[in-house]
């Protein structure tokens, strides 16, 4: 059985090809995270502002995103939007899909961060005559976002792993790169092992880094 044989020379030889997949995966994660952070903040503001029709509509949309699988959303964006005349590259579709999906979760995280602030912070801002805008940007958001940074970090780590789904919409990220090598060489052990190992190492190190960030915060507070 050649399947269980591990060929170091072959493994080394495919690293450059996989590295290109890593680059795509990392950029997709970065782009998706940026989008999720910004969109989530917008959803949160729409919710706080209590605008008629808009707020319930946005909140239904957020619940809908949370309640359906990311894979279906990616397929929808990839196969259905072009038929409506909206066509973007597979990569951009993937980044938008990831950003939208995770924005439903960042919105919830921001909301929790804002609600957990002591009411005295609002009262101080109000009684010191700060404009509402400044109270948000200078007092409430910096504290709320700082408090939820570890949770936002977890979102990035989750998204990093979920980028593998982009392989299903033809994005040549890390998993797709590994599969392509397998299909060309009929050797799957080395590429898939390396791909899995890479996901694991990055996730593990990120989780550890986030934990140390949290404990350092506790010391400071």
């Amino acid at each position: 059985m050649s399947g269980f044989h591990w060929d170091w020379a072959f493994a080394w030889s495919i690293v450059p090809a996989l590295a290109q997949g890593v680059v795509v995966t990392v950029i997709a994660t970065a782009g998706g995270s940026a989008l999720a952070f910004v969109l989530g903040l917008i959803w949160t503001f729409v919710r706080v502002a209590q605008i008629r029709i808009v707020t319930p509509a946005v909140w239904f949309f957020v619940q809908f995103i949370r309640g359906t699988p990311l894979l279906i959303q990616l397929y929808f964006l990839f196969y259905v939007l072009p038929t409506w005349g909206l066509s973007v590259s597979a990569f951009a579709t993937g980044v938008i899909g990831l950003g939208l999906f995770f924005s439903a979760y960042t919105a919830e995280i921001y909301r929790a961060g804002i609600e957990d602030l002591p009411p005295g912070q609002w009262e101080a801002a109000l009684t010191l005559g700060l404009p509402v805008r400044r109270a948000w940007t200078g007092i409430i958001l910096p504290q709320a976002i700082h408090a939820v940074l570890p949770m936002l970090g977890n979102i990035v780590v989750s998204m990093f792993k979920q980028t593998a789904l982009l392989s299903t919409i033809t994005v040549l990220e890390l998993l797709a790169s590994g599969m392509a090598i397998g299909q060309m060489t009929y050797r799957f052990v080395e590429p898939l092992t390396l791909v899995g190992a890479f996901y694991f190492v990055v996730s593990y190190l990120s989780a550890r880094a986030l934990r140390s960030l949290e404990t350092r915060d506790e010391v400071r507070a």
């Binding site: 002591p118 005295g120 912070q121 009262e123 101080a124 109000l126 009684t127 010191l128 005559g129 700060l130 404009p131 400044r134 200078g138 007092i139 910096p142 504290q143 700082h146 400071r220 507070a221």
Partner: protein, 263 residues
């Protein structure tokens, strides 16, 4: 009993102010005047409405009934030719500018240093330039004895120091009346003195009116022109400190002061 000061001179004027929470009357038709430069202390058991009257005075709480005037302007009403009309938060924002408050829990902004805390209202409420606001913030912190702690975060300061930063911060807008809400209740006993000293100096040196909720009777006797005894949302006794604190007439005041002595 000392009479209510002349209406025109009253910096804070409440008429028939009531507030209920969940069917419980916290403030029951309160009439209260604080004259310019007058220092008024409020005493009373917990739950008597002492804190609520301060929150109402600065517009953090809107009363169910009654009117509040600050330096002549109605806090929750607009004056029209047809009479008084209820007004909203936007109106109240302008009027409450003349009122400052120091909270029991300090409510400093924890992500800002001492000087940034004091600078915040100078820059964003008054619109002062950075340089001028820095100088003024440093002055205010010097005034409360914190010259050496300008760049420290609240978490790096003792409770007494944090409360003094909060006092400096609320002085920044130069309020005409300052409210103190049990400003030493959250402090360790050994830190109470430094905060009371600052408030006392302020009371003696400044022209501000003050409305002070406190459990420190010696302090109240020292700085107050008038003491109000609150119980169940009403002012049950008022007068000069020597009278209310030393020779109370109302049985509820007598009981409250006796309980404090036996503590």
């Amino acid at each position: 009993m000392k009479s209510v000061p002349d209406t025109n001179a009253a910096l804070l004027q409440m008429r028939g102010v009531s507030k209920s929470y969940g069917g419980r009357k916290i403030l029951d038709r309160i009439d209260l005047d604080v004259a310019a430069r007058e220092k008024v202390a409020i005493i009373g058991p917990s739950g008597s409405g002492k804190t609520t009257i301060l929150r109402v005075a600065i517009g953090l709480v809107r009363p169910d009934e009654g009117t509040i005037r600050i330096d002549g302007a109605y806090l929750w009403h607009a004056e029209t030719q047809a009479g008084l009309k209820p007004a909203g938060e936007r109106h109240a924002r302008k009027v409450r500018r003349a009122v400052g408050i120091v909270f029991q829990q300090f409510n400093l902004f924890p992500h800002m240093t001492a000087i940034e805390n004091v600078r915040e209202p100078l820059v964003h409420a008054l619109g002062l330039a950075r340089g001028e606001s820095d100088a003024r913030a440093a002055d205010l912190l010097t005034q409360v004895g914190l010259t050496d702690h300008l760049a420290k975060y609240p978490a790096q300061l003792s409770g007494g120091q944090q409360q003094r930063v909060a006092i400096a911060r609320s002085l920044a807008l130069r309020p005409k009346i300052m409210l103190f809400d049990e400003v030493t209740s959250a402090l360790d006993p050994e830190l109470v003195g430094e905060v009371l000293r600052v408030v006392r100096e302020l009371a003696h040196a400044s022209d501000m009116s003050m409305l002070i909720v406190t459990h420190e009777m010696a302090f109240a006797a020292d700085i107050a022109d008038r003491v109000l005894m609150f119980d169940q949302g009403q002012i049950v006794e008022e007068g000069a400190p020597a009278q209310v604190l030393k020779a109370p007439q109302n049985p509820r005041t007598q009981k409250f002061l006796r309980a404090l002595l036996e503590r």
